[in-house]
């Protein structure tokens, strides 16, 4: 499937998926008292200087195990279409990694947890990364 073909509108599944993501964020706060931001969890998963890296590494392992659980439960592999331009993906990865650490959060830390805390920093971050993402797709798909 080429990338710019229509993907079906799935309000129900997406709301339910969002609910599970929210439940996970609440669980992390209830058990560990921390924000469930994936960029922060990723950088905190190495035993460098923090002492509570172990649950973060386990969290990342859980993320990785999720498609295997879905495959085991439903018998169908998870469908996805990933861009195939590897140079573009390398640049994208660098920008996402650098930007999320520089900006102290990503879609989960600022987008889900930050908005839920009514944090003004997170609101600014979300509006900013949404805006540059919209403009990037606009330029790449409709202008270049």
């Amino acid at each position: 499937m080429p990338l710019d073909t229509v993907t079906p509108f799935t309000p129900l599944a997406s709301t339910l998926g969002g609910f599970l993501i929210g439940l996970s964020a609440v669980l992390v706060m209830a058990v560990f008292g921390r924000i469930a931001g994936i960029s922060g969890i990723t950088t905190g998963a190495l035993p460098l200087r923090r002492d509570d890296w172990d649950w973060r590494l386990a969290f990342v392992a859980g993320l990785i195990a999720a498609p295997l659980l879905v495959l085991a439960a439903t018998g169908t592999p998870v469908r996805q279409t990933v861009p195939t331009d590897l140079l573009a993906m390398a640049i994208a990865g660098l920008l996402v990694g650098f930007g999320t650490v520089m900006g102290s959060g990503c879609t989960s830390g600022h987008g889900v947890c930050g908005l839920a805390r009514l944090s003004p920093r997170s609101l600014v971050a979300v509006l900013t990364f949404m805006a540059t993402a919209f403009v990037t797709v606009l330029v790449l798909r409709h202008i270049v």
């Binding site: 309000p11 998926g17 929210g22 990933v82 331009d85 573009a88 660098l94 520089m102 989960s108 920093r121």
Partner: protein, 141 residues
Amino acid sequence: MRIVLGFLSGLLFGVGLILAGMSDPAKVLNFLDVFGTFDPSLAFVMGGAAITTFLGYRLVWRRERPLLLADFQIPGRRDIDGDLVLGAATFGIGWGIGGFCPGPAWTALPLAAPGTLVFLPAMLIGMALATILKERRTAVA
């Protein structure tokens, strides 16, 4: 117990991403493509997740402390600085190119698409570079 609950939280998060369609870069890029093959589904992901978290946090914060660690650590900063805005702007450009943010990139790993296998290590390098840069500046200041 920390390992088990950490793993289960990550698993729940990952299954949520998959069910929501957020683990599919094509769906993410279509959400961002308002003037093309627009798919508004991800607004429902964000909405469902943020509302659940908003309500859940308020229940959790009635307790003295979290279950397994000593205290709640919640970011207290409220200032808007250059790092926040420039970092978020940089992240958005990468998100718009690749269709991956950090969570879905991890969840996509075992599906082993070539684009994922390039994106993920590049993301970790980017995170390491930003971490080093931030620490150097703190050391100088």
